[in-house]
Amino acid sequence: MSIISDSAAVGWASRKSRMWILGILSFSSICTLAGAGLLFRYDETAGAVSAVPARWPASSAIERPARTGTLLVFVHPYCSCTVATLHEIASLSAGARAQSGQLSTTVLFYRPRNSGWQPGSLWQKAESEIPGARRIWDDDGREARRFGARTSGFAVLYDAKGDLLFHGGVTGSRGHEGDNLGLDQLRASIDTGRPAPHTSLVFGCALAGADVPPIGENR
């Protein structure tokens, strides 16, 4: 069925040309494979996670409803990878239990001191895509440190009693939407009220930078 072989009309290039072409293609292949490896490694490298309190921290300034579970999502306001997290949370919020008011969602946007950061596209997205979600600034990442969040896209779920049900990421990799283990476990915890059996990885930008240690470590 193949119609074309190397054109006899054009003829083979000289041996020298062929060597050049093969050399370039070999170099190209090596670069492509190396680049792909680095890229996938970057995409697949999870962000840092600190110890997450098993009970709702008393020092937290965030108001926790007494009758419903509370989902906190920590977001770097300029992390494009976290768009995927917000989409996943949005799909989760559309679920039956969330719709029935048994889940309170709060999105905390990290804001360094004196940065002057203003609400951006992620803020708008959280407003438009996650109905009923509260959006608050987490100045200097204080709440993030309380809840062990070091990477944008980190989510924690506490039940009405303040017990930890889930913590981790809800995307399969950096910026990738789609079914993944974290989202699956979070959905299950919301629906059943039972703790998730595994911690899921978080993929996103670092919230406070590597130089800012978590609260637990300060102690």
Partner: protein
Amino acid sequence: MNLPEMESASTLQGRAEEYFKDSCDELTILVDRMFAWLLAAEWVGMIVTALVVSPRVWSGTQNGVHPHVWAAVLAGPAFIFPAIALAIFWPTRQITRHCVAVAQILVSILLIDVTGGRIETHFHVFGSLAFLAFYRDWRVLFTASALTAVDHVVRGIWWPESVYGILTVSPWRWVEHAWWVIFEDSFLFLSIRRSIQEMKAVALSKARLYTGAHHDVLTGLANRRLLQESFESRPLRQHGAKQQGLRQQGLKQQGTMRAVLFLDLDRFKHANDTLGHTVGDTLLKLVASRLATAVAPGDTLARVGGDEFVVLMENLTSNEDATEAGVRLLNVLSEPFFVEGNELLLSASVGISLYPEHGTDLSALQERADRAMYVAKGRGRNQCAVFSSEVARHENRMQEIGRDMYQAQKRGELRLYFQPLVERDGQLTGFEALLRWTHPVYGAIAPSDCIPLAEKSGLILAIGDWVLREACRNCKSWQRAGQRPIRVAINVSAIQFEREDFPDHVVSILDEFALDPNLVTLELTEGVLLRNLDRTRHQLEGLRASGIRISLDDFGTGYSSLSYLAMLPADTIKLDRSFVNREFANASAVLESVIEMAHRVGLRVIGEGVETEAQNDRLSGMDCDELQGFYFSAPMPEEAVAGYIALSEGNRAVASETVGAVG
């Protein structure tokens, strides 16, 4: 192109494949260019997408360019640019197509990654496969599909969420994805196959058109157009743009002289007229087949007219090569042809011209070879003649003779000679009137030269009338001198015979001389008689009703079925000299059969061209009724006829006395 150009199914197929390949190459170049543009556009689009979707990466307050942007930018030099370069500078190659396919799929993979695995961007893969199908090369699709499969398998194993999602994670999920790829590829393969079939059909049609335009329909040989193209293409390939002055010497040294051989079948028209066009066509096919066997590979054999063939010879080392080739052509025609139960003997005349000696363009070479061919015919046919200054002089002479012929009759340069016709016992029965022209400069002009000129110029009617009158006048005078009636045989040309009033015209001339029609025999060749059988029969019946006798001349040179002998109202047949003289297997048996058959249908037989005693004895022994030839007497002027008659009468008287004395 393989020559000799005798078109066959395999040649047609070969040409169709050439066209197909050309079409494929043209198409592939277009697709290569399309992909060059497409890949360039995709690269720019990918960078823009990366900048829009994930421009920067953050770590607290610090930020930098997102690795996705770097990946999109570096994809250019890594694999997009090489593919573009190959598509532009190395089109139509397999490796180019495969590199383009790999680049397309890598762009798809990267684009999916950059956009966060959006399902919409997955369609880029299918779009790429569809575009790659333009190559009509299933191997390219295989490469693209294989790369996609490898990507899915590898990532499916190490990073399943990025490909299949967590809900359906299974180590065998890649099988389902592979199936979808196979499913889509199957449609593409079928599409490619259909497309290829269409291209092949188009190529075959083009090949047929080419064949129709470049080959003779009847014989499959090259036609004038292909001959011209062969002539024009060879020097360009072989000699380049050498200067004309250096060419001749250079060609001889390299053994790359060329020759044009113009071959004309002798008396083919006669065969065609007498045996019918179906037999004539079959004969031409057989001739073409035989000639093809005598033509060297690389030479071009073409049919350029009804019974005219041209061979364009390449790579000659000497003039003799051309002559040898001409002889080879004549030799392959010397064996009898068998067509629909007829055994046909053919001969041909070959004229040769040489390149660049006799011309540098085909028309000039062909025209000179044609002229040389006529020289070969004039020399008695079945031979080769190379164009030369002698040929040119001969032609000039013939042109001059043609002009002088208008005055020949008035100036009294035409004369009739008479050759005796005798019975087996030597008894004189009559004379055949033979035209002779004594040119004031060139002397005696042979009838084979002057009759065609007269026919060509239309003078044949006036000359024919003159011959008729002169023959009748002489015959009348013989009756007065002799003791018994002496007949005269007069040759009639086709143009004379085609006159509607020819029988009446002849009768009026006989009346003019008060000559007994029984003493006049009109000799017509088979070709003349069988041009229009019904009309001929009508004319002949008119002549015979007047008492004029009809003789079929040159019998044995044509191909008329003996059944015509019974159909046509003739009185005698005249065996041609070549038929009488030719030595071939069972010659005597053939002659004997012809004579016997003629006798059975009531025809007398005259043996012409008897030159030896042996021929005389042989024909006499076969009951040939009358004989004619140099053995008895050369043609003589009218002044000598009376003496010959007297001598013949004297011999007869002596013979009678001897018989009486013995009795």
